[in-house]
Symmetry: C3
Subunit: 349 residues, 3 copies
């Protein structure tokens, strides 16, 4: 192996293996501004310092998804440089807010390994923890990814996939340190609707659409220091399956979350990522729309609650009819993302 490295292949992983990922990253107000310009996020806690302070935080935290993508990006050179596909997320929890000036590190532990019958590829399950340079964990999640083998003949140290919860139970949700309920003013947050106003089963069309352009998804993905080649190497990807680079799935998550402001303006911190799949690829030129379904509700105290939401993103298709599955139960080709997450929302006082 040359000095440039070629990433790990399936046969390089072992269950129990711990991998510390380079490079730690100090996030700043500059990253926050870029995240806003790339996503158009309007959630008030992230862009309005007085509101963040009124809610008991020292200042506006960085967007939870900026934190997620930064931690995820660090894992790419070790975990998914030779990936065929990112198959899913589970059991993800946000454990502490991250502020400008904090430095994030990422460390992963291999949980399970399974070779595919073709012996060319297989699946790796891995738990990744993001933490501050102080050691404080900020994020913890499992993902599984289909990875190539370097050598089809090589032996793979198979290990049973982990037992993953269908969703994070509400008792395990962590309320951001210091956060308290603050008076909600629709002129500040853009929405009068609080936790009590949402019902399980309710669906919300987020109305707007956001086109994704080449430069936008690449600026975002570089901001996260995610080096996966499929997002950047136009010369190679022109000859590939899609005829162009593929948009990092996290870009779609961020756009869908940003669009969800229309109807979920008072959704505050993301508390957990229960499950998630990028069911179809997104490429530049696609217009992302989104809708949400309230899957469950949980009380987190007298003033705070959580909504468990299904967030679905589509491309080039309005969401007023909440597109998701076809008659056979498969995701429609226009569906990009099917994400299940918990978000914090204040209760009426």
């Amino acid at each position: 192996m040359g000095k440039a490295g070629t990433g790990n292949f399936l046969e390089d992983f072992r269950a129990g293996q711990e991998i510390r990922h380079a490079t730690p990253r100090t996030l700043t107000e500059g990253d926050a501004a870029l995240y806003l310009a790339l996503t158009g996020s309007r959630f008030a806690q992230g862009c309005c310092e007085p509101l963040a302070r009124a809610a008991g935080l020292p200042r506006s935290p960085l967007d939870d998804l900026l934190v997620f993508h930064t931690v995820f990006g660090k894992t790419v050179p070790d975990m998914s440089l030779n990936a065929v596909a990112n198959l899913g997320y589970a059991d993800g929890r946000f454990l502490a807010p991250v502020y400008p000036g904090d430095t994030l590190e990422a460390v992963s532990t291999v949980l399970g390994l399974k070779e595919n019958s073709n012996r060319q590829t297989g699946i790796v399950w891995v738990r990744t923890t993001g933490r501050k340079a102080t050691g404080e964990p900020v994020l913890d999640y499992v993902r599984w990814v289909m990875v190539r083998k370097r050598d089809a003949a090589a032996a793979v140290a198979e290990a049973a996939p982990p037992d993953l919860p269908a969703f994070v139970p509400s008792e395990r949700l962590v309320i951001p340190q210091g956060l308290r309920a603050a008076p909600v003013d629709p002129a500040v947050t853009g929405s009068p609707w609080l936790w009590e106003d949402y019902e399980v089963g309710e669906r919300i069309d987020h109305v707007d659409g956001m086109g994704v352009m080449e430069s936008e998804h690449r600026l975002a993905t570089r901001l996260y220091q995610n080096t996966a080649r499929v997002h950047f190497n136009d010369h190679v990807e022109k000859a590939g399956r899609l005829g162009r680079t593929i948009v990092y799935g996290g870009v779609v998550i961020s756009l869908a979350r940003s669009l969800s402001f229309n109807g979920l303006g008072n959704a505050q911190n993301i508390l957990a990522i229960n499950a998630g799949r990028h069911v179809n690829p997104c490429v530049a030129g696609d217009t992302v729309r989104a809708w949400s379904e309230v899957l469950a509700k949980a009380e987190l105290g007298p003033d705070l609650g959580a909504l468990r939401l299904r967030l679905v993103a589509t491309r080039d298709r309005p969401c007023r009819d909440f597109p998701l599955l076809d008659a056979a139960g498969r995701h429609l080709p226009e569906v990009l993302l099917d994400l299940d997450y918990w978000v914090l929302m204040q209760r009426r006082r």
Copy 2:
């Protein structure tokens, strides 16, 4: 109405109605850097801290147009989500510099309402004030916009349009707090020309051209949290009048102002927006050029003066012949912007 909201239609407005717009926005050094990268602005006060301090300011203020676009952006979900066209600006004054760390809020008052004879649309006049979270006003302007009706049959509470001044008289211009004349060094500001060097009637071709690309105008417009669909929803706009998204008019204003550095390097703070119209739409691919005419001059004290400038932006057309109107007195199709504003400039001491 669902939780996502659909914005106000003509019949929803009443003269005297006050609307506080979500979401307040804390601007930072990150936003300043992005504004510079998006516009290429070179005016020294905004990018050279020592110069700003020599001029009596605590540090470099944020660009006046970044402030304007941020305040304007907040009004979009309430005022112009259902707009057909943004018709004009008048009586705009900048009242205080804004610094990184300041939080901007926007509040609007409806001034007048007029239904069009087709009963499908009408015009709303509104005065918008941007202020800091401390309550200090930073910006005040009137705009009028053509808005759709939800229901053609609905009654409209017509109210006479406001009486608007043709321009802000120089006595009403507000010199930024603390600002004083500092020695002008062309090696710092890029120009030896001061207030005395400009004559009423003088025209200046700003020479350079700046192409507008899809990602650039969208990054800017998202930075301003301006959610107007015509700028972002490619899927819908492909089937629209222009066959693509339209560039937010404020992007054109910023590019033209940035280009005006060539010939107006010592133009400092914008003091007023007297009038302005986006006379033709701009789309990605257009190359913006600009020229200025000195409309008037005013003394603001022994050391400071103001120039009242007409700033004209064109697309795909050089400005050495100062293109503006055709023989019939209509704006040429290559003209994008016709803006009338006051700018502060030092006098010779």
Copy 3:
């Protein structure tokens, strides 16, 4: 000449002439975030505050190439607005790290002048120094550029080209103030390889490729306040030699340097630019790849060393066979950049 200025032509220069360039520029964390998003740089010193402090620095310095491009950008309106081509760099040294909050100024001295036999153009050699507002120099380099004459008949004050060193001798390299060797942890820097691990003559393929898109190169070039028209005026350049705007050569340098993380993760500060040429133009759509050759090694003390590297960037061509020259000794058409620089790297302790 109108107030807008038209830049200097060949006959406007004189050997010994000193030109102070507008506008000084205060760089911030916002610029650092943009630089990272535009280049994808992962070198740890620049994005990991704890590492920078462990290495004796007060905080993460701004990327050396951000500093270079900022200083270079300031020279454009005076030196190369009427340039035909930027021919080369030599004798460049980085003299002090630059931190967020520092303000950069640029001043140039004309070293030599030579008219071409066609009398339409000629070559100017110039030494440019970048310094902080405090007067501390941060960067010093020579470049030469082919410039148009305003008037072919005009006399040119020819002056002998300067005697330029083939490379900066290692004794003249300046170790950044305060920098000391810190324990190297591959989980932090992404690489286990230190100064001792590199051999003269060794070549490294940096493996990845990075496509350059229109908006990305223009955002970068505006961030550097580089106003050269060939990068921005699509209307004019559509009819030009390449049929589109050309990518600022500095963008290619930055992308190649960023890619060189793959194999040179422990390369720290750039100490010198020995020589460099943009041998072919880059346009949007090109995918940049890069490879390096170790040209020389130097000890800078018991803990620190320097590598003299040749950094070659290509477009749309993998670098596993290290493409450079054709049989006739000319650069291949796929080669964009041939750069010779010194970089600091720690030694094993």
